[in-house]
């Protein structure tokens, strides 16, 4: 990547007409029903201005539906949504001129050329951004004349992102921005997202790739079966879900271990997880217990778990409540 392209990445990508309210997005008691299915059931959450909020959950959890309601494409069955203080249905045109939306797939005529589409979108937003700058910002300079159908999956995603940036948005919705994107493309998209947030743009990022969310988000909203199972800052989520994991080939009495260590213990195959934060004395006590019982102790890890593990944990907890 050339130096000029790198400089373009740090272009002022958002509109400086900043929202004055602290919450750029606010969802209250949102319900969305399809004909015979409740896609989203009574959820509420906020996104602070200038933050990156990851909306995560498996496919079909209600993320895309929620994003569609927030971006005004779909109407809610009940509940209210406020975007930059505006109602997505009533104030749609004003809201649309201030936000960017990156859709999950499609949305461009197969025979349309990269340069033409971007020019068109920049015109729609009153040419706040120059198409030629955006093409370079997403590294599609060599594909200016290529048609949409000739682009690779990753190139399509990058063009989609550029189309969303044509608004110079104060708030941007990104739906699975890195899906199908190779490692170089992912780095580029992450960097753009980070630059957006740094310049004050609120980013709402829907993804089922939890590693991606962990790398980019300040705040996490977790969905499953159309409900929220977590709404917390990433730091709090990782901080309050500290674990110690280890592997052993021995048959372990989990109740005895839990009693000895005074914490909840889970086993998954050869992996054992102790759900609590740890310090040196906790690890020493654990090692001693294993040594005294002459058990094998491998792969001992302590600290913040991966978001994926937390999601699994919260998800199984919510299913237990349901049952």
């Amino acid at each position: 990547m050339s130096k000029s392209q790198c400089e373009l990445r740090t272009l002022k990508l958002m509109n400086m007409r900043n929202s004055t309210s602290e919450n750029a997005l606010s969802v209250r008691n949102l319900v969305v029903d399809y004909s015979d299915l409740r896609a989203v059931g009574n959820i509420s959450f906020d996104a602070k201005a200038g933050s990156v909020t990851a909306v995560i959950g498996p496919n079909g959890a209600g993320k895309t539906t929620t994003m569609e309601v927030c971006s005004g494409v779909r109407t809610a069955t009940s509940g209210t949504v406020s975007i930059l203080g505006l109602d997505p249905q009533r104030d749609r045109l004003e809201m649309n001129s201030r936000i960017g939306v990156m859709l999950q797939d499609g949305g461009v005529y197969p025979s349309a050329r990269v340069g033409e589409v971007l020019e068109h979108y920049c015109n729609l937003f009153g040419n706040r951004q120059r198409a030629s700058d955006l093409i370079l910002a997403v590294d599609l300079g060599s594909k200016r004349k290529a048609t949409w159908r000739k682009l690779s999956g990753g190139e399509k995603q990058r063009l989609s992102l550029a189309l969303a940036l044509a608004a110079k948005p104060e708030l941007i919705f990104l739906d699975e921005p890195t899906s199908g994107v190779d490692i170089v493309g992912r780095d580029l998209i992450r960097e753009l997202v980070r630059n957006l947030a740094n310049s004050g743009c609120t980013v709402i990022l829907a993804t089922h790739e939890l590693d991606e969310a962990q790398r980019m988000a300040d705040h996490v909203v977790m969905f499953n079966h159309g409900r929220l199972i977590a709404d917390s800052s990433l730091q709090d989520l990782l901080g309050t879900n500290q674990t110690v994991t280890l592997r052993t080939t021995n048959e372990i009495d989990l109740t005895a271990l839990a009693q000895h260590m005074n914490c909840h213990v889970e086993q998954n195959g050869t992996e054992i997880r102790l759900l609590r934060s740890s310090d040196a004395s906790f690890i020493a006590r654990l090692s001693t217990w294993f040594a005294e019982n002459k058990f094998v102790l491998n792969d001992l890890n302590s600290g913040a778990p991966r978001l994926e593990d937390i999601y699994r944990e919260l998800n199984s907890a919510s299913e237990r409540v349901d049952n």
Binding site: V73, V101, L103, G106, Y109, Y121, L124
Partner: protein, 227 residues
């Protein structure tokens, strides 16, 4: 929309073919006019319906199913400007159609000595607004495949009951009394008056005007960006 071969057939092929065929095979009742003088306005009306309703409606339906409109729905464009832009784009295609049909008509012996070109242009403009409104109303609500069938079906009905190729007075009484209120009848009568220098048919102008306002209002208000 003119990039696709099948659209080109609809926009240019069928009107020219009908014009050539029925001017050479003299089987149509032509209300006392020469067959070419009867056919040119009818084929012009058919061309307007093809481009403003069927071609535009089908293309828009597929734009909706491809998600092109879902994405455009997230911009400040709005349904009003979308409908206006689509009507404007259709007008460019119709200029080409008007030129081509006029040329073919002249080659087949049509003489536009008495034609009222202002009336022709007004009729085509109103017809475009009206049929684009109808096409976009269907395209904005129906699934792409259902929309495709609906546009073609409606086209056929409006064509047969609209005095486009066959005069309405050849229809059964009950069909004729219904057909007089159709926008295709109003358009073909206005064009026939314009092309042959007859008196302005006020009733047709009012009917087409009312249809235009109703169809465009419904297109703007009922259009959904995604399926």
């Amino acid at each position: 929309m003119a990039r696709n071969g099948e659209q080109l057939l609809l926009l240019v092929g069928i009107p020219v073919l009908l014009l050539v065929f029925f001017s050479q095979v003299d089987i149509l009742p032509t209300q006392g006019l020469s067959s070419i003088a009867f056919l040119v306005p009818g084929v012009l009306a058919l061309a307007v319906m093809s481009s403003a309703m069927v071609s535009l409606g089908i293309a828009t339906g597929f734009e909706r199913s491809y998600g092109v409109l879902r994405r455009l729905g997230t911009t400040p464009l709005g349904t009003r400007r979308l409908v206006l832009a689509k009507i404007a784009a259709t007008c460019f295609i119709e200029i080409g159609q008007l030129f081509l049909i006029t040329m073919v008509g002249l080659a087949l012996g049509w003489r536009p000595d008495d034609s009222n070109w202002l009336l022709i242009v007004v009729a085509i403009a109103l017809g475009t607004i009206c049929f684009a409104g109808i096409g976009l109303t269907l395209a904005g609500r129906l699934r792409a495949e259902v929309n495709l069938a609906a546009q073609n079906g409606l086209y056929l009905v409006l064509l047969l009951l609209g005095g486009v190729i066959l005069p309405n007075d050849e229809l059964p009484r009950i069909a004729e009394s219904f057909a007089q209120w159709l926008p295709s009848t109003a358009l073909s009568q206005l064009l026939r008056a314009g092309v042959n220098g007859q008196d302005l048919a006020m009733k047709s102008l009012v009917i087409l005007g009312v249809w235009s306002i109703t169809a465009c209002t419904s297109a703007v208000n009922f259009f959904k960006w995604s399926e």
